[in-house]
């Protein structure tokens, strides 16, 4: 296409006058090209345009009518689709921005509600303008583009330990609960329709199977809605993982039920054989999805083992493998959501051990960004699709549906909890049950599934859609808005803010070993026994394959410790550097309760840091895409420590009984008077009790070396931190795989 698609506009240099002129020229040329393309062109004077010939391959204009030379022209059709997509995304992002600028509003109303309202407004505007509302919640767009980022984000950062511990409960809620919901709602709706035979004729033709199909669509708890609402109420981990896990795992059930009823609605009957096949199909869908996801996850982990020289594209592997896993599962009509979750959860511990710090940050932020935008878009589209219709309002149907959904959910949760509590050590209280029942929100997945129904098979499609939308609105608005005050009212346990300390890590592992031992003594092959076996298998075989280099042998405790130390160092720098080293303070990891420095001191420190900062920035070249300047402080931070250790050991070799000086962390327990970080850099000879630094008993040369080591290492840490601010403190990363 002979437009300026190949033209690299020197936009960056558009500051200076010649730059501006060049830019103007580019614009003119582009427009000219557009005009030529439109066909009603003047004589193409090729010779005169030989300087711009590389974007005007062919001269199109044939006819002879000469129009005035068009200086400015509009060609919307050319860019329409990407432009509209970008506009939607921009709208979503601006909305997100806007809500947080109005603090009061976001406190009362959850974001999802506001977004739906915005969607309604936009849809209304489009309708008023007379344009056709784009089918935004088209099922293909939804399932292939909007849903995967959210699920991948959830799966990658899934807290494995609580998930596995409550897996039984989650599965029972997801499978049995959804089945119960579907059949209860479907069956009772059918009964209501039968009762209504006398009155309105619309409900007459509603057979049992369409009712059951509708029931199966509306019964599934929606992960997007749950995430959106639960994110804001900061509920305790157990409840969060129960509801959220349920919303993820019920996808398999929904897929099977939906296909089952859709297939046989045409035929009219479902036999026992079909039911049996349905059960088998469910197992295939669920386990197949997980298997597909796990395979791709292992592939991704394996690939990441070799990426040490191409750090730039590391995040891409994570995203692409996950997306392909999702698409592969969808191809076989397996559960794509479960594939995605399995892929993310399986690949994460190995990938994180292999990739660089920066890639980790990239992955984290990209996932959060995409999922955030996706979620926003989904809610806006829900609003737009509502305006679009087509609606068919039937009072009986809709109200009965809403009531039945609530009732079914409550009965289901209460009944299942009664059974589950017999097997749980930590029982679910009534409060917990209430929150679980109340948190069963429906969302866009239900709508898309309804949208997917074909009008000719299901004449009641519009009625279904209206009912689905009403239920979604009800759950999101009413339940979404009231859940926060209810949580406060019932004094439900909130999420623990404190980060995981090394103490907890040690004791958790200790307890694991202890309980495994006791189980072995009792001869009981329980929970702990299998977990221990899996861990051992993981350590022995899997880690060696999938993790590159030295990290594969690193015990989990040490990896955790390193991570924590690094985080602390980063936090230190970010908080301005003027941080006192607390001595014997209970939790040094969370830098919350730190005393303030006197003003003068702080200024001094800031000045020092500022000058350091500037120096670093100049040192980092702005690299081009293809070659990341090998940042010596970037890769192999651990290798660096090891190297330093080895060097020191080598130097100390002739002295066999001297202890090599190894510095491990900044936050060493100091002597009672608090020591300033900056002082550490300057003062070489601290008092003997440095806590961590074991000096060898020999002479003055050693302390110098140690100070250099310490100073140099801290400098490295500083520069590394400054070049990459690192991920924000987030407990997601602290969870080791199968701890």
């Amino acid at each position: 296409m002979p437009t300026g698609s190949g033209w690299l506009s020197p936009a960056g240099s558009g500051r200076s006058l010649p730059g501006r002129g060049l830019l103007l020229l580019t614009v003119l040329v582009l427009l000219e090209g557009t005009v030529f393309r439109l066909g009603a062109a003047s004589t193409p004077d090729v010779s005169g345009h030989d300087t711009k010939d590389h974007h005007k391959a062919t001269a199109i204009g044939h006819n002879s009518t000469k129009k005035a030379f068009p200086v400015l022209d509009l060609d919307y059709g050319h860019i329409q689709t990407p432009f509209e997509i970008s506009l939607w995304v921009l709208l979503a992002s601006l909305m997100k921005l806007g809500f947080h600028l109005i603090p009061r509003l976001s406190g009362i109303v959850p974001e999802s509600c506001l977004l739906i309202v915005v969607g309604l407004l936009v849809g209304g505007l489009i309708k008023i303008a007379g344009e056709k509302v784009p089918p935004v919640l088209d099922s293909r767009l939804f399932f292939l583009c909007l849903l995967p980022p959210i699920i991948l984000d959830a799966g990658y950062f899934l807290p494995i330990r609580p998930f596995m511990e409550n897996l039984g409960t989650i599965l029972i809620f997801a499978v049995v609960g959804t089945l119960w919901n579907a059949f209860f709602i479907g069956g009772l709706l059918y009964a209501v329709c039968q009762i209504q035979t006398g009155n309105s004729s619309e409900l007459n033709g509603l057979g049992l199977l369409p009712c059951l199909l509708f029931g199966s669509i509306i019964s599934a708890v929606d992960p997007v809605a749950v995430l959106a609402v639960f994110e804001e109420i900061h509920i305790n981990e157990l409840l969060h993982i129960l509801v959220f896990g349920e919303s993820l795992l019920n996808d398999a059930v929904t897929v099977v039920l939906y296909h089952l009823f859709e297939e046989y609605s045409g035929v009219g009957t479902v036999t026992v054989m079909d039911g049996f096949l349905g059960i088998i199909s469910f197992l295939v869908v669920a386990l197949g999805g997980v298997l597909v996801g796990a395979i791709y996850g292992i592939l991704a982990a394996f690939t990441s083992r070799f990426t040490s020289h191409t750090r730039v594209i590391e995040p891409l592997f994570v995203f692409v493998y996950s997306y392909i896993a999702y698409l592969s599962a969808e191809m076989f009509h397996l559960s794509g959501i479960m594939a995605l979750i399995a892929c993310g959860a399986v690949m994460r511990p190995y990938v994180e051990a292999n990739i660089s710090h920066k890639s980790h940050t990239t992955i984290k932020y990209f996932l959060k960004m995409w999922s955030s935008v996706s979620e926003t878009l989904i809610f806006i589209f829900l609003g737009v699709a509502t305006v679009d219709g087509p609606h068919f309002w039937n009072w009986t149907f809709v109200t009965v549906t809403v009531i039945l959904c609530l009732v079914a959910r409550v009965i289901g949760v209460v009944g299942l909890t009664y059974i589950i509590n017999k097997f749980r050590i930590v029982k679910l209280t009534t409060k917990d049950q209430f929150i679980i029942a109340y948190g069963g929100l429906r969302g866009a997945i239900a709508f898309s599934l309804g949208f997917l129904l074909k009008e000719d098979h299901f004449p009641e499609r519009n009625m279904f859609l209206t009912a689905i939308i009403t239920v979604i609105f009800f759950t999101v608005f009413v339940q979404g808005m009231t859940i926060k005050p209810l949580v406060e009212l019932l004094a439900v346990k909130k999420k623990q803010e404190a980060k995981r300390s090394i103490n907890e890590e040690i004791h958790t592992q200790f307890l694991d070993h202890l309980l495994t031992g006791i189980e072995d003594i009792c001869g009981h092959y329980g929970h702990h026994h299998w977990k221990d076996k899996l861990n051992r298998f993981n350590k022995k075989y899997v880690k060696k394959c999938l993790i590159a280099g030295e990290r594969s042998k690193e015990p989990q405790l040490i990896a955790f410790y390193h991570k924590m130390e690094m985080k602390q160092a980063i936090q230190l720098v970010e908080s301005g550097g003027g941080v006192k080293m607390p001595s014997a303070m209970p939790s040094t990891v969370s830098m919350q309760a730190l005393p303030q420095l006197p003003k003068g001191r702080e200024e001094e420190i800031r000045k020092i840091l500022r000058s350091n900062l500037q120096r670093t920035r100049q040192r980092l070249h702005s690299y081009n895409r293809h070659t990341l300047v090998a940042d010596p402080y970037e890769d192999g931070f651990d290798k660096f420590i090891l190297k330093k250790q080895k060097i020191i050991e080598l130097e100390n070799k002739p002295d066999s009984d001297s202890v090599p000086i190894i510095q491990v962390d900044l936050a060493s327990p100091q002597s009672p008077d608090t020591v300033n970080v900056m002082d550490e850099f300057r003062r070489a000879d601290q008092e003997e009790n440095q806590g961590l630094m074991m000096r060898c008993p020999r002479g003055p040369s050693e302390p110098k070396k140690s100070e250099d080591t310490e100073g140099a290492r801290d400098q490295q840490k500083l520069m590394r931190c400054l070049s990459d601010p690192g991920p924000s403190a987030d407990e997601d990363e602290d969870e080791p795989f199968l701890p």
Partner: protein
């Protein structure tokens, strides 16, 4: 269960154990059959070697210490009563019977605190860490981890972890649900 009359469990013994430890009848009989299967010497008591014969326990890093927890101070044999008494610590505790003597935290603390001075010193912590972590890590690193651990948990500044401080840390780990085995309830 063999035909050894002297080692068969009598009803009254079961009742006594039930009262003391809170296990149910079926659990006691089940554990008794396990006890006898471990008791190769068929003398009604277990020695350390009997425990060590359990293969999984051999590879457990804390295996030795766990075995030690079964044997009261200085003795080398443990009978069924003692066996049950130790296992009772790992029964899931109902809310109304919180009994400090039979809590799992206490056993866990005792596993750390070998010299029974009611404090976990730095050395004791180091020993446990060393057992859990293996041989790849240098002493200094381990030492710094131990120091950090003590620093975090120690509230009264005596550079060791007392039982109360230990409990406080375990609370965060939500120990009640973890310190029990599903089988034993």
């Amino acid at each position: 269960m063999g035909s050894r009359a002297s080692t068969l469990l009598r009803e009254e013994e079961i009742e006594e154990i039930k009262k003391e430890t809170g296990f149910s009848h079926s659990q006691i009989t089940r554990l008794y059959s396990r006890f006898t299967s471990l008791d190769k010497g068929e003398n009604g008591t277990l020695s350390r070697e009997d425990f060590q014969r359990i293969p999984e326990l051999a590879i457990n890093p804390l295996g030795d210490r766990i075995i030690n927890a079964f044997f009261p101070e200085g003795e080398d044999q443990v009978n069924f009563r003692g066996f049950m008494r130790t296992l009772a610590h790992f029964r899931p505790i109902e809310d109304n019977e919180k009994n400090k003597n039979y809590s799992g935290d206490f056993i866990a603390f005792r596993l750390y605190d070998l010299d029974r001075d009611d404090k976990i010193s730095r050395d004791e912590l180091l020993q446990v860490l060393r057992m859990m972590v293996g041989v790849n890590i240098s002493d200094e690193q381990l030492g710094s981890i131990a120091d950090r651990t003590i620093q975090e948990a120690d509230t009264n500044g005596d550079n060791s972890i007392s039982f109360n401080e230990f409990i406080k840390v375990l609370e965060k780990v939500d120990v009640e649900q973890k310190m029990s085995i599903r089988f034993l309830h």
